[in-house]
Amino acid sequence: MALPHFSMMKRGLALAAFVLLASCNGPGGPPAIALEDGWARATSAGQTSSAVYLTIANRGGEDRLVSVSSPLGEASIHSTTIEDGVMRMRPLETLEIPANFVVELEPHGTHIMVAGLDSPVEAGEMIPLTLDFERSGERQISARARPAHGAGM
């Protein structure tokens, strides 16, 4: 699993402190997953893959994202690392969702790739996704496509 981004860790720690104080919910307790802020990058004709970004907020016990799917194409979890200036993208079998933690999928980091798109994803269009969690089961989210030139960073 890719190391969490620093800002993500800070948010995660703050949330962890808050939730621990509020509920004393341990890592073994039931997870409480919320999917937020899903967005994707619009594609132009001929581009066959897009990336979906979202926030997975877990206000409960630990969980794990085990698979993703979309009716629009072949969805998979990917990590991106940039080391010595070289970008490496790798499929991830699973993505750990620690207890009381916010996992952010964002540009230059972990993302959900939707490959094999039959037609371009226009800005404003929604990409439906099903995320399957080991303990929480299936969750749906629709990611709105942002114009490619306004998306990112």
Binding site: S44, S49, V86, P91, P107, A151, G152
Partner: protein
């Protein structure tokens, strides 16, 4: 105030030294059989293939500053993010779309034909020159610009491409000036774009 300025100058010097180190150290080992780059002499004449399927000579870049980035169109994350950012920062620079060229070169010529790279010319809200070529042509240009790339097989017979994600900046004399890292903040990048276009 003077001390603050001194500290800033020292930090700038350190940053420049860091860049110099990154640029001058030997290229990635995977390219060890290739020509070693000596000094900061990136660039040089090349011929690739444009999105119009015709040969594209580097002489068409002469006389205007340019930013060059190597990637592949099946890349869903870093490549579109970088190109979208370059187009956005060129707008923020406020000197017009003519102030410098943004050049994209595919490191995946097997999948990226002219039609494929053409999608990158118009996708980002401002003009981009998107180029591909034969694998041999692309390899030669990669060496000229100190770019590493390597295909990595994926399950199911497909593959992804590991590649240098740093963009290179050249002034109007086609002299190498600076690099842009994907994880760098906008402000220093705008400073560099100011330098190549001044």
């Amino acid at each position: 105030m003077r001390q603050v300025r001194l500290v800033l100058w020292i930090l700038t010097a350190l940053a420049l030294a860091g860049f110099a180190f990154l640029l001058l150290r030997p290229p990635y080992q995977g390219n060890s059989a290739s020509t070693q780059i000596t000094g900061a002499s990136f660039g040089g004449p090349f011929t690739l293939v444009g999105s119009d399927k015709k040969p594209f000579s580097s002489s068409r870049l002469a006389g205007k500053p340019y930013a060059i980035f190597f990637g592949f169109t099946h890349c869903p994350d870093v490549c579109p993010t970088t190109l979208a950012r370059l187009v956005k920062l060129r707008k923020e620079l406020g000197k017009g779309e003519d102030s410098f060229n943004i050049v994209f070169v595919s490191v995946d010529p097997e999948r990226d034909g002219p039609e494929q790279v053409a999608t990158y010319e118009t996708a980002f809200g401002g003009p981009v020159i998107a180029l591909t070529g034969s694998p041999a042509q692309v390899d030669r240009v990669k060496k000229q610009y100190g770019i590493f790339s390597q295909q990595v097989p994926l399950e199911g017979g497909s593959y992804t491409v590991d590649h240098t994600a740093t963009a290179l900046l050249f002034d109007r004399q086609s002299e190498f000036v600076a690099t842009i890292s994907p994880v760098e903040q906008d402000a220093p990048v705008l400073d560099k774009l100011e330098r190549i276009t001044s």
